[in-house]
Amino acid sequence: MIDSIIHSEIFMLTLTIGIYLAAQYLYRRTHFALFNPLLVSMAVLIALLRALGIEYEEYSSGNKIINFMLGMSVVALGYLLYEQIENIRGHTLSILTSVFVGSIVGVVSVALIARWLGAGDALVASLEPKSVTTPIAISVSASSGGIPALTSVAVIVAGVFGGIVGPWILRMVGVHDRVAQGLAMGAASHALGTARAMEIGAIEGAIGGLAIGLMGVMTALLIPILDKWI
């Protein structure tokens, strides 16, 4: 009987939200950087699922509604962008230039570092679109000789990492401008970086959403060209 409860959708869903809320509470009480709510929820859930013998596929299908909400929240960024339009006006050219350079630097740096550490062509092609939203990253990876499954892992790693340390790194190098912060978070860590940028402020979140789209399109167009040299 307990078994059928443990394997039910409502259990998976309650577990996800409950653990996230607890992690958020812990972070708000301590403000200790390592207690990032996403990081803590991820670690606790992975350990719990292992202990309860629940496969990831089962957990994931129990959380379908959360994945749906993720898609809806990306659409909602369109509203935020509209609400913040006054803060974007006049920044168009600088935004396009910064994301363009960021896209080149992102692809080249990950390729060079991975190669230097012994990665082969397929692995490099899988890592190159890491800063881009998953569907774009996967199509780019597949058409440039990468392994799509590996690419989706790379996208999550870049997203989780940037989402956690991004604001801290930006502060360290002296980026205080709100538009610049949001743009960097969205460009480096797609929707995950944007979700974190949302927590800093509405301008940051709106610009992050814009960066997801721009970075995706630019990287997709640049990778076939850059691949000729690296």
Binding site: V74, F161, G166, A187
Partner: protein, 113 residues
Amino acid sequence: MVGIFYLLLFYLLGNLVSVLMHGFVPGSVLGMLFLFVALLSGAVKADVLRKPSRFLLDNMMLFFVPVAVGLMAAYDLIRGHLVAIVVSLLLSTIVVLVVVGLMQQKLGNKRHD
């Protein structure tokens, strides 16, 4: 509820165009763009979208939890080249953050000089 309907409608529209593009750009990102254009053109009133959008955006980080837990199923895939993969991804993510952040801060504020 009207706001939720619009979010769903534009998500659906985004998915439709995404399918026509063979899934290259995700439906949600296209939906964001379409909703933005519809609001700009005045076809959709912003007021009805405020509440549902705020609710979704305020909780966006939570919606990533299942995706992040997916890393538990990925270990076998990356085990062979763990160091090359992790080091290159982390360093390159920092590089993008710093380059885009500093560039935008410099270029974006030039016009105020």
